[in-house]
Every structure is written in structure tokens, then in C-alpha cells.
């Protein structure tokens, strides 16, 4: 316990001591700038470190002098070739990669600003009143549009009135001043104080000219960002705290899930050699796991159970947690190994490229913290128990006849059933709240019902002595297959109904292979005396 506490304290200090970050609005969320950069480059360029730079360094360079990038080889085409923007611009290939569109937008916004200046100059020289010039310019180049379209990069400036975030490049805009009768640099359109805005604008210009470093502008933005607390009001895009930004950057920077999975794997490997080492590794893996799960829910402000990927993180965590929680079972290394195995498998699955691992806000229907916690965490939690129970049953049937192992199978099955039934009924109450009916045989509901039925039969049959330990163990395995279908099959194979948030396709052949193997195992266990 102390070790655990020390671990998290260490992480916390490490985070607070690291450099400060500023937020950038991208894809419905405010993200730490380097988290934004790596997501952006990954999505747009499909390259982890473009031109040998870190994503944020690369994006800073792009922001600074986009035109010098046009001719460089950095667009990855569909065929996997690297070509330059200039060469693609003249080709007739309609299948341009997103990076091409990025450059196109950069070019267009620069062009539109040039046009604006030219037009303004022409109007100033004409015989029009200042009022007319201002109105004419506004009608041709609406200010709002100019702010918005100044650049597709770095939306890091909070707008004064709209809760919208504007690109850094908007700082360079010139606007027509009615009193001075000429173009002047843009005034404060942000939520920041006048002095801070002027400083940001100055620094940004200097930075563009190469007189200031990347760190200088980043620090300045981060410092100013702290002022926003209290004056920024937008419920749509909540303001992350500086600590959240640091945490996000930290979360995105390293492949935590892979590390965790590797640690679990190591725990499995060491179980044959040293029980103590195995336990230590498992505990460390669990720390990592906890950290990444909590970081995720802290960043997204909701429990981490709203899509397939998140449930794949949550279920093994819960399984490991259960194993660690009970002092009685912690000593049994095979249980640790079982939990490590489950966690390793599921975490590996979560790395499938078909799953969206990004930090995204939820679908409107899931927008209820309370019900997410109550319904989804209960139901998905029950999956953890069932899977553990099934794995333990495998070991029990194949290798050992220990009663402790069997009682673990039985009890996790009981708790799983309890959670599943309670969670499903509460799901009905939630459905009555958001869909307007308690129960309507939606596939997910149906399969929750089917699994509950199966476990009810199992529990009754065992309780009244109709089946023995072997029967119950085999039942636990079959039950887990039903659960796997409820979890994966409904979303990926049936693909209809109202639980659409976790839908996807693919993996059918692997799933069938898994079912076949389990079928063989059940057959083997059945024959075995």
C-alpha cells in the first residue's frame, strides 16, 4: 500500500515539475500542444516523426514558415511514396492525402490575406468614407471568417465572445482602422487582458522571425492560459487545468499500454521462476495500469467505459484489482498469473489498429456521468469477473484440483452474475430515461438477458446439486463465451440496435478460431476423468 502511494506521489511530483503546456483546440477538445501535435501529424501525415523532428517541433516549423515546406518531400501518398506538395499540386490525381489539403488550406489562407490587403489598399485610395470602407471590407472579408480561417494549425487563442478558439496565425492579421484610415495590426480578440495580448502578439511575431525560441512562445502561452480560470465560460469545451495538460502530454508521449502489457507478460514469465519477482512485476504493471486508466478518465472527465477500447482497458484493470484486493487469494501465484494473462491478452487486443485510441468526447446519448458509472461500469465489470472465472476454470480443469481455485471460480461467477443482473436492470432504468422504454429486446439487452439466463441456470443447477465442480467449471467457460459474444459479437457481428457507440467490424476469423479452441478444450475437459 505504501509502495503504491509512493509510486503515485512520485508520478505526481514528476508531472508537476515538468514543463508547462498550453492547450490547442482540435477535434472537439482542448489538448496539450504536444499531444495535439502528435495526434495531428499522425492523422494528417501518417508519420510519427516527420523530417526527423518531434511532432511539436515539426508543427512549430510548419507554422513558422509553411512555404518552405511546400517543395519538401513529406507527403505520403496512397501508394506509400513521399512526394512534395508542389509536385502533387499540378498532378491530376484526385486521391490526395490529407496533408495535401492541409497545405492547400495554408496556401489559401495566406492568399486570402494578401487579397484583403490589396483590396483594403485600393479602397483606401478610393474616394470613400471610412465607414463605407469598413463596411465594404467587412462584407467582402468577414472578420469572423478571417479569424477562423487564418490557419488550420494551432487553434490556441480563446475567442472573446463565442467560446471558439482561434489559430495563432490570427495574431498576424491586419484590420482597417477607421480613425487612422489605414491597416493596423489586429486588436485584442481574445479573452486575455490587453497587455498580455500585446505581449503574445509581439512575441509571436518575433518568434516567426526567428528571434525567439519555441520554448519562449510556448511558455508565454502557458502562463497566459492560467489567467483564463474564471473568465472562460463554455460548457461545450471545458477548460483543462494546467495539471491536466501536463498529464495529457505525459499520457500521449509514451506507449503506456504496451509497457503495461509487457510488464504483465514479464509477471507471467517470472511466475515459474520466482513468486516474489512475479508478484512485484504484477504490482508494478497494475500501478501503470491504474495510472493510465485514471489519467484517461481524469482527462476526459468521465469513467473510461464509453467505447470498445476503453472497456478493453477497464476490464483487465478490474480483474487485476480483484485479485490484488483479496488478501486470501493474493498469495496464490497462479491467480496472479491468471490475472496477468487476462490483462496481457486484453491489453494486446486493445492495441488493434481498428480501435480508436484517441481521447475523444462521448456520444450525446452517453452524456450522463451517473449512468455511465452505474450501468456501464457494473455490466462491464461483470465481464471482468466472468472472464477471470473462466480462466480459473481452465486451470482448474486442465491442471489442478485445488478447492481454493474452484471456490474462486464459483465466487467470481456469483459476483459476476450479481453485477450483470443489477447492471442490466439499472440499464433498463437508464433506457427508460433516455430512450423512453424500460426494455425492448435490443440485441445488447437480449444478450445480457441470455448470459444472465445461462448463469442463472448454472447457479441453480449447482446449488441444487444437479452438476458438480466439473460441470460448473465447464459452465463458467461456456458462460464466458456467451459474455464474449455479448461484449464483442453484438457490437462487431450483429451490429444492430441502439448500443451503437462501440460498433465496429473485423476480427471474425480470430473470434471463430477462439471459439473453436474453446470448443476443443471443453470437449477435452468433458472427457477427462
Amino acid at each position: 500500500m505504501k509502495a503504491l502511494f509512493a509510486f503515485f506521489l512520485c508520478v505526481y511530483f514528476l508531472l508537476s515539475a515538468s514543463e508547462e503546456h498550453f492547450p490547442v483546440y482540435y477535434k472537439e477538445r482542448l489538448r496539450a500542444e504536444d499531444a495535439y501535435a502528435s495526434l495531428f501529424t499522425d492523422e494528417v501525415f501518417k508519420i510519427k516523426s516527420p523530417l526527423g523532428k518531434s511532432p511539436i517541433g515539426f508543427l512549430f516549423d510548419l507554422e513558422k514558415n509553411a512555404h518552405s515546406f511546400y517543395a519538401k518531400s513529406l507527403l505520403l501518398t496512397e501508394q506509400g511514396e513521399l512526394v512534395s506538395y508542389d509536385s502533387l499540386k499540378t498532378s491530376s490525381d484526385p486521391l490526395h492525402p490529407p496533408a495535401f489539403f492541409l497545405f492547400q488550406r495554408l496556401e489559401e489562407s495566406a492568399k486570402s490575406e494578401r487579397l484583403y490587403k490589396k483590396r483594403a489598399q485600393a479602397l483606401i485610395e478610393s474616394r470613400l468614407s471610412t465607414e463605407q470602407i469598413a463596411l465594404q471590407l467587412e462584407s467582402e472579408f468577414p472578420f469572423w471568417q478571417r479569424l477562423k480561417n487564418a490557419s488550420p494549425l494551432f487553434k490556441a487563442l480563446p475567442g472573446k465572445f463565442s467560446g471558439e478558439w482561434f489559430p495563432l496565425k490570427a495574431l498576424l492579421l491586419k484590420v482597417y482602422d477607421k480613425e487612422m484610415r489605414k491597416l493596423v495590426p489586429i486588436g485584442n480578440f481574445t479573452l486575455y487582458k490587453e497587455a498580455s495580448f500585446l505581449e503574445i502578439r509581439k512575441t509571436y511575431k518575433q518568434w516567426k522571425k526567428g528571434q525567439k525560441s519555441d520554448v519562449a512562445i510556448a511558455t508565454l502561452l502557458a502562463e497566459n492560459y492560467k489567467q483564463l480560470d474564471g473568465i472562460y465560460t463554455s460548457n461545450l469545451v471545458p477548460l483543462p487545468s494546467p495539471f491536466q495538460l501536463t498529464l495529457e502530454s505525459f499520457y500521449v508521449k509514451y506507449p503506456w499500454i504496451i509497457w503495461t502489457a509487457v510488464l504483465y507478460l514479464a509477471a507471467i514469465c517470472f511466475s515459474a521462476l520466482s513468486k516474489r519477482a512475479s508478484f512485484c512485476l504484477f504490482a508494478l504493471a497494475f500501478c501503470f495500469h491504474t495510472l493510465l486508466l485514471f489519467a484517461r478518465s481524469y482527462l476526459l472527465r468521465r469513467p473510461p467505459v464509453s467505447n470498445m477500447f476503453e472497456t478493453l482497458l477497464y476490464v483487465p484493470w478490474l480483474a487485476s484489482f480483484i485479485i490484488l484486493l483479496y488478501r486470501e487469494w493474493r498469495k496464490k501465484t497462479y491467480l496472479i498469473t491468471i490475472a496477468a494473462f487476462l490483462s496481457f491478452c486484453l491489453l494486446t487486443l486493445s492495441q488493434s489498429p481498428a480501435l480508436n485510441q484517441n481521447l475523444e468526447p462521448t456520444a450525446p446519448v452517453l452524456n450522463s456521468q451517473f449512468w455511465l458509472i452505474v450501468h456501464v461500469m457494473l455490466v462491464v465489470g461483470s465481464y471482468g469477473f466472468f472472464l477471470l472465472s473462466s480462466l480459473a476454470a481452465h486451470v482448474y480443469l486442465a491442471a489442478s484440483n485445488k478447492t481454493t481455485l474452484f471456490s474462486f471460480v464459483l465466487h467470481s461467477l456469483y459476483i459476476g452474475t450479481l453485477l450483470l443482473i443489477a447492471g442490466t436492470i439499472l440499464g433498463g432504468v437508464w433506457a427508460a430515461q433516455s430512450w423512453g422504454r424500460f426494455w425492448d429486446w435490443d440485441p445488447k439487452e437480449s444478450w445480457a438477458f441470455i448470459s444472465s439466463c445461462f448463469y442463472l441456470i448454472l447457479v441453480h443447477a449447482y446449488k441444487f446439486g444437479k452438476i458438480g465442480t466439473k460441470g460448473l467449471s465447464i459452465g463458467a467457460i461456456i458462460g464466458a463465451l456467451l459474455i464474449s459474444f455479448t461484449w464483442y459479437g453484438v457490437n462487431y457481428l450483429i451490429g444492430s440496435g441502439l448500443h451503437t457507440y462501440g460498433f465496429g467490424t473485423g476480427g471474425l476469423s480470430y473470434y471463430l478460431l477462439f471459439l473453436t479452441l474453446e470448443g476443443f478444450f471443453i470437449f477435452y475437459a468433458y472427457l477427462k476423468k
Binding site: 477535434k27 477562423k148 449512468w371 452474475t417 450479481l418 444478450w447 443447477a461
Partner: protein, 653 residues
């Protein structure tokens, strides 16, 4: 008896029932996945009587197995609690299905309703026109017996036909196959090629807007040819020589072919329908005059020169209204009995304006002015009207000393410029006019050069006297919202199918056959029946004691993105005692009234073309929820928890 009692509460029965239910449900999900239709799965599984029997079996089994433990002891408590919970849960669901309400309501922005529709049910709604009398004939299945309407006992109906899916666009006012106009039965669009004769008999319908007129619905990509064909149909030219008094009637086809001859001279007649104003052109080697057929100057010749000695009138036995469907637009062509031609283009896809009556018609409407006045308005009548108006205007300016119109003023100026006395010239002008016995033409006054009176001409041109009120009759077209004409894939899923029925209505001696397409929420046009009633084929309808009006529905997106963050709708809700309150519904935020009605926002759809949103509200009334279903769920959870805990202590193997 004892055996039966034992069997009913036995574990085997329980296991058998649970297994059966699980298998049925499993089959249901696979059927749903295969057909893509929840409804289809529901029909063969969850809503099947067999499944109901299973549930009832459950109920009996649980009850009896609990009674087996009689007399109850303390140790039975968790078991009893769990099973009592299950009983409550099942009975709650059953009672809700029997006595509760689960319905849907569809509201367009601006519209209000207190009608609830029970999904996947069928009924024929009959409404007496102009009266608030409304009845409903529920249809449980295709049942060809005679059905009576409780509220309107004089009406009865018999189902004579049924189809699973009519194309959902059947009810639009113009679609691939038929034309629908407010108040008359739909008309099939016929393909028409130039040179073909116009369809007769059942393919044209008497037009209710004007006596003796006909309506055609034709599909062609050459509207000009159609105008020509329609115009030539039964039209004759009436020629009148004003000085000799000679009269002639020539069918227009003949006139076009052989021309008109009088004494030595002969004239060619041409019909121009390729550009507006449509006109008859009368010409020979010396020149030509134009006899306009459309526009504000229709039927009035612009030139009174003695080039053509006849006055022309056009005579047709009746007016004609034709809807001509082209690729992108619908052209409405109207020809009145005097030969006046009118054309309007109605877009097929982009509607004009949106109309929502109180819980009645919701759709797009457009109004077109048609040259179908209720009184004679041939050339002569029109000229007379113009003349009256002209004189009146002059009198007003001169005798009543009213400020001169700019055009009149310029007339006076023109006279002065030419050295003429304005009042004398005016008198001359009027005399000339009277003598001519026809409309005031350009250059009617001999002494003045033509051009100088252009302002005068434009004066009455601009005024266009009596235009809307007297000459044109307004025709209102109202169409339900779906006007889009795109190729449609076959609908396979039960949910997306629109069933259709053919119903024979009877009222005393009268009989009328109607084909009705299913319109679950009663949003489409109602069909007239026996001239006194309106009918529609909807879901079973139920009135609730609340009236809801949708003010606004919105989808709130994240800035700079089209990803929705939440859906909201503002509603005004009026209860039975007429107290009005304002509520905002969103997903996960429901409204519950004091009498147990709950309203949920279950979906927002915005129509593609415009900004009119509609919302779907799920409405239910489930008074048993708080007494049976939820406590049942709670008992089951607590009971199961206690059962498991106790077992852990009691038998550690």
C-alpha cells in the same frame, strides 16, 4: 395434482423455461442481424404468443417454487426476496404492456399536437370535413370483414386489398408516378411524346377549380411542345371585321395550316410557344403583328395599324390545367377558355414555404395564380375594364385635383412639347378610343408621333389594373414534406416499409374505393371521401390530456465541427386545465407530468433542404414502474446479494 404442483415449482421446469427463453432471444438477435429489422425479429420471437406463454410460465414457476417453502422461515428471506423481486419485475412489465401507454409523437417546429401514435399498429382515421368530428377504425390485421366507425356510425369500410410496401413517395404531390393535389384524388403521370394525342377519359380529371376544365398530368422533356398541343386542342379563332361586320370562325389548326385570307391579301399564322410572352404571330410579306397570349397584355394587340383588318378572339370550350413533369421541375400550364395561357414552374426538390396547421397538415405549400376567373373575361371585357380604369385615373387627376401621377405628368409634358393642349389631346384621345371600340393602342392619336406616348402606355401598363383580384384565381398547392425525387433502393427491412391498403368505404348507398398508404404519424395529406370526409391510414391514435407544441429543436455541435454534443428541444406543454408551461427536453433529460405521462426526446431529424427540424418524442405512461418494476429490480439485486453472501459463509465446500 400433487405431482403437478411439484412439477410447476420444480427446478427442471425453471431450467427448461430459462433455456427456452434464452434460445428464443438468441434466435431473435440473429434474425435481427440477418434482416436488419428489429420489427421482423420481434414478430417471430419476443412478441410471439409462445414467448408470452414462456413468461407466464416463469411467473407461475417462481410463484409455486416460493410457495413450496411454506411455512417461511428466516433463512428463506433472501430466496423469497429475490423471487418476489422477479415476480414484481415480470408483473410490472406485463401490466405496463396491458394498461400502460407507449407511444410516439412527431412534431415539426411550430406545430402542436396532443395525438399520440402507438407504433406498429394500424387504424383508419375518418374526419368529417369542417366539423370537429373524428373517428378511428382500428385494424389489427388484414381483415376483410366490414368495419364500422364508432364515432361516425354512418361510415363503414371493408378491406379489399393489402400490400406490404408502397413506395414511400406515393403521397407526394408529384413523384415518379403520380400527381397529388390538395383536395382531389391523385393522378398518374403519363409519358407523353410530341405528336402523340393527349390522353382522354380516365387519364384526365375534371378540375375542381373551374367549371368544365380538365387536369392532365404528363411527363415530357419538351414542355413547349405540350403547350402547343394543349393550345391547339379544340381552339378556334373568332375573326370580326369591325367595319363590314363580317364574322368568321376558324379552327386554329386550320388557320395554322392554311392561313387567313381576306380579299386579295393573305396572312400566315404562327404559334410561338418557345419564349414568353407566348403569342400568335400574324404576318405576311409586309410585316406582322403579335397577338400575345400570356403576360399582362394577353389578348390585346400592341399595334392598331390597318395591317390586319380583323379583331381576333380565341374561343375554347373549356379551360385546361396541365402538370408537366420534366427532369428537374414541374411545369404548370393553364389555358383559360379565352385562350389566355399561363405557365409556372414549380421546383421538384426545393419547396417554397412551410405550412403547419395546428395538428393538421404539415408540409410545404406554394400558391400559383391561374387565369381562371369566375366571370367572363375575354378580350372585350378586359378592354372595357382597362378603359374604365384609365378614364377614372384621368378624372381623378384633373377634376379632383389630386396630385398627378408621374406618368400622367409626363403625358402632359409630352403634349406641351409637341405644342398640343393637354386637355384637348386627352379628349381627342378618349374620343378616338371610343370610336375605335378597342383598347388604347400605341399611336392611337394621329397627330402625335408614336414614341411620345410611350410614357402614357407604360402608365397603364405599370399600374396593371385589377390584376390579381379579377383576372387571376389563386390556386394553393400543398404537399407533404417529402418532395425529393431520387432513385430509391428497395426497402427490405420491415421498419422502412410502408404498407398500403385498398379500402371500400360505404355510406348508405354510396361506395368509394380508396387506396391508402400507411402514414404512421398522420403527417401526410388526408384523402377526401364522399366529399364530406377526410380519411388517412395511420397508426392507432390516442389523445392524451396534454397538448405539446414544438418551439425549437436544435443539435448543439462542438465549435468548428459537425460532431453533435447534445440534442435539445424547447416545447410548450399545456395540460388539461389549460395551464401552459415551457420545458426543454434533451437526451437523458425527461419531463414527467403529475399524471404519470413521461416525454422523452428520442430523435431529431432535420430535413435536408431547409431548416425545419422535426423531433420524435417517445411518450409513455407506466404507473406501475414505481410500485412494481423498479422495486422488483431492487429486490432481485439485494436478494441475490444476500443469497451469495450467505452461501459463502455457510458452505465453504
Amino acid at each position: 395434482m400433487k405431482h403437478l404442483w411439484k412439477f410447476l415449482g420444480s427446478l427442471y421446469l425453471a431450467i427448461f423455461l430459462i433455456a427456452c427463453a434464452a434460445i428464443v432471444v438468441m434466435a431473435g438477435t440473429f434474425i435481427e442481424s440477418q434482416t436488419g429489422s428489429h420489427l421482423a425479429a420481434e414478430k417471430v420471437t419476443y412478441n410471439h404468443p409462445f414467448f408470452m406463454v414462456l413468461l407466464a410460465g416463469f411467473f407461475v414457476n417462481i410463484l409455486v417454487s416460493a410457495l413450496h417453502r411454506w411455512p417461511f422461515k428466516k433463512k428463506h428471506f433472501p430466496f423469497l426476496l429475490t423471487h418476489l423481486g422477479l415476480l414484481l419485475l415480470i408483473s410490472g412489465v406485463f401490466l405496463k404492456n396491458l394498461f400502460g401507454i407507449q407511444g410516439q409523437m412527431l412534431l415539426w417546429e411550430g406545430s402542436g399536437s396532443s395525438r399520440l401514435f402507438i407504433p406498429h399498429s394500424f387504424a383508419i382515421q375518418v374526419k368529417k370535413k369542417h366539423e370537429d368530428l373524428q373517428g378511428q377504425i382500428p385494424l389489427s390485421s388484414f381483415d376483410p370483414r366490414l368495419h364500422f366507425c364508432k364515432e361516425l356510425p354512418e361510415i363503414s369500410c371493408r378491406l379489399v386489398g393489402y400490400c406490404h410496401d408502397v413506395k414511400s413517395q406515393l403521397l407526394c404531390w408529384s413523384d415518379d408516378r403520380q400527381l397529388t393535389l390538395f383536395g382531389i384524388p391523385p393522378l398518374t403521370f403519363l409519358k407523353w411524346e410530341p405528336q402523340e394525342p393527349l390522353p382522354k377519359g380516365i387519364f384526365s380529371r375534371p378540375c375542381p377549380f373551374y367549371p368544365d376544365s380538365h387536369i392532365y398530368a404528363l411527363e415530357t422533356d419538351k414542355p413547349e411542345a405540350l403547350i402547343q398541343a394543349l393550345f391547339l386542342e379544340e381552339t378556334a379563332l373568332l375573326l370580326f371585321h369591325s367595319s363590314t361586320g363580317e364574322k368568321r370562325v376558324i379552327p386554329i389548326r386550320e388557320a395554322l395550316e392554311s392561313g387567313i385570307s381576306y380579299k386579295e391579301a393573305s396572312w400566315q399564322i404562327k404559334l410561338n410557344t418557345s419564349f414568353t410572352p407566348y403569342s400568335l404571330i400574324i404576318e405576311n410579306e409586309q410585316g406582322g403583328v403579335c397577338y400575345p397570349l400570356s403576360g399582362s397584355h394577353a389578348l390585346l394587340i400592341d399595334d392598331s395599324s390597318s395591317f390586319f383588318p380583323f379583331e381576333i378572339d380565341i374561343k375554347r370550350p373549356s379551360g385546361t390545367l396541365a402538370f408537366c413533369k420534366g427532369e428537374k421541375e414541374l411545369t404548370l400550364i393553364g389555358i383559360d377558355p379565352y385562350g389566355r395561357l399561363y405557365q409556372a414552374t414549380l421546383p421538384l426538390e426545393k419547396p417554397d414555404s412551410y405550412i403547419a396547421y395546428d395538428s393538421g397538415f404539415q408540409g410545404y405549400g406554394t400558391s400559383v395564380c391561374l387565369p381562371f376567373p369566375n366571370f367572363p373575361c375575354g378580350r372585350k371585357e378586359k378592354e372595357e375594364a382597362y378603359k374604365q380604369h384609365f378614364i377614372k385615373e384621368f378624372e381623378k387627376a384633373i377634376f379632383e385635383n389630386q396630385p398627378m401621377d408621374p406618368e400622367l405628368y409626363s403625358f402632359v409634358k409630352t403634349c406641351q412639347k409637341n405644342g398640343l393642349n393637354p386637355s384637348i389631346t386627352l379628349q381627342k384621345l378618349l374620343e378616338e378610343w371610343k370610336a375605335q371600340g378597342r383598347a388604347l393602342y400605341l399611336g392611337a392619336i394621329v397627330s402625335s408621333p408614336k414614341e411620345d406616348f410611350t410614357p402614357l402606355l407604360s402608365y397603364w401598363k405599370q399600374k396593371e389594373p385589377l390584376k390579381k383580384d379579377h383576372f387571376l384565381k389563386e390556386l394553393n398547392l400543398e404537399a407533404p414534406l417529402r418532395i425529393v425525387l431520387k432513385e430509391k433502393a428497395e426497402e427490405n427491412t420491415l421498419e422502412n416499409q410502408t404498407p398500403g391498403i385498398a379500402v371500400l368505404f360505404e355510406k348508405g348507398e354510396k361506395r368509394e374505393l380508396l387506396h391508402l398508404a400507411y402514414d404512421p404519424y398522420g403527417m401526410e395529406i388526408k384523402w377526401p371521401l364522399f366529399n364530406d370526409y377526410l380519411v388517412s391510414f395511420t397508426a392507432l391514435q390516442r389523445m392524451i390530456p396534454h397538448h405539446l407544441r414544438l418551439r425549437e429543436a436544435r443539435q448543439i455541435c462542438y465549435p468548428d465541427s459537425s460532431t453533435p454534443e447534445r440534442f435539445e428541444s424547447d416545447l410548450l406543454i399545456k395540460n388539461f386545465s389549460n395551464e401552459e408551461s415551457f420545458i426543454t427536453l434533451s437526451m437523458n433529460e425527461v419531463h414527467e407530468t403529475t399524471d404519470d405521462y413521461r416525454f422523452y426526446l428520442s430523435g431529431i431529424t432535420s430535413s435536408k433542404n431547409g431548416d425545419i427540424n422535426h423531433i420524435r418524442l417517445a411518450v409513455n405512461k407506466d404507473p406501475f414502474k414505481y410500485y412494481l418494476t423498479y422495486p422488483g429490480g431492487l429486490f432481485v439485486s439485494i436478494g441475490a446479494f444476500m443469497l451469495l453472501f450467505r452461501r459463502q459463509k455457510k458452505d465453504p465446500q
